[in-house]
Symmetry: C2
Subunit: 214 residues, 2 copies
């Protein structure tokens, strides 16, 4: 486990961009030492799609599979971070990125990552996959795709982009903050809460940079 750990999860603290209509997240104390309680105790209430989270096919497919269908081993292992510069992730930009064949875990770093460090307003012009890019990932037999905003599909698109990925059994990680991850090869450790029967779960996600043996 040698190497530098990079936290690519969004802190559920400050105001962060929230999907329109979503309940987002909130925390509050139900016990407080300063009020005379024996301990401090926090309550967490959230849309499981707030912040950094993992989705299985039950999210957009009526006959989809819940999160328990995703083996943990799929979310732990070698991963590639590529930077995509453009208003959308297209097959042409994916081709240009020089993704080696056999890449199973692909994390897409875009200008979105900076949006986590702004005023918390939701920006509907975030960068995401076109339906054609989703098909490209299916053809390349990617098993996990991650992106650095709240959806893999563009705001104005239909859920078809999600469904193309989900019908192919591709697991989706959304809400990554890849600010601190330069493009390159890492060890991904993505651990969602164990909400096995749900369609998604909030996750803590780290990248291990093995080239930096600290």
């Amino acid at each position: 486990m040698t190497g530098r750990l990079i936290d690519v999860s969004v802190a559920l603290e400050r105001p962060i961009p929230t999907w329109p209509g979503s309940r987002g997240h909130r925390t509050f104390r139900t016990m407080a030492i300063e009020s005379g309680d024996a301990a401090n105790v926090t309550q967490l209430e959230m849309d499981v799609h707030a912040g950094t989270h993992v989705e299985s096919s039950l999210h957009f497919l009526a006959e989809g599979q819940p999160l328990a269908s995703v083996p943990l081993g799929e979310l732990v292992g070698p991963a590639l971070v590529v930077e995509i510069v453009g208003p959308a992730v297209t097959p042409a930009l994916l081709e240009q990125a020089g993704i080696p064949s056999g890449t199973t875990r692909l994390l897409l770093k875009t200008t979105n990552s900076a949006l986590w460090h702004g005023d918390g307003a939701f920006d509907r012009h975030y960068v995401a996959l076109t339906a054609e890019a989703a098909r490209w990932l299916v053809e390349r037999e990617v098993s996990v795709v991650g992106i650095d905003y709240l959806s893999v599909q563009r705001f104005e698109d239909t859920p078809e982009t999600h469904r193309i990925l989900m019908r192919a059994g591709i697991t989706i990680i959304e809400g990554l903050d890849l600010t601190d991850a330069s493009p390159g090869a890492y060890e991904l450790v993505c651990l969602p809460l164990r909400l096995g029967q749900a369609e998604a779960a909030p996750a803590r996600v780290i990248l291990i940079d093995r080239t930096a043996t600290t």
Copy 2:
């Protein structure tokens, strides 16, 4: 990252033992495809001390530190699982367990693990540390201690057991299910949700058994 992955987290699904007075956890759908919505969306509401979770010193110390004070590297790395057979974890039983000096992450497996697989009733006779055992861990300079029920301290004891650990800066993992982990050496990966300002956060925790290269 080669090796067998063992999930030592409690599923937040079935009725599971809940601390008396705690709100526990619940999930419900806020959108459902079968009701005509475009997607299935789940809401999660929980006491951050329900199920498997990590605690920092702010939980029981008024001047304690929030979870952000715990470096992720403390929760990722070599760990030892020892089995303690007895009604409480005592210095004598810890001595008997033959824990090598220099052990920094110690996970205590007891008969508690079976309690996760029962009817979900809270059992106040769970196995936990005596205050003397907490002092023993401080003297041994352990940095992380984990246990397989909802508290490191016995139900009838005062918070002193927690406070001894927390004053020494020891990070606590509670609510592990060590049923599938035989005693021995592992790589621990414990990733709590990024609730940096809270006193605790729910976590997904895995052990990597490097002797099993699958």
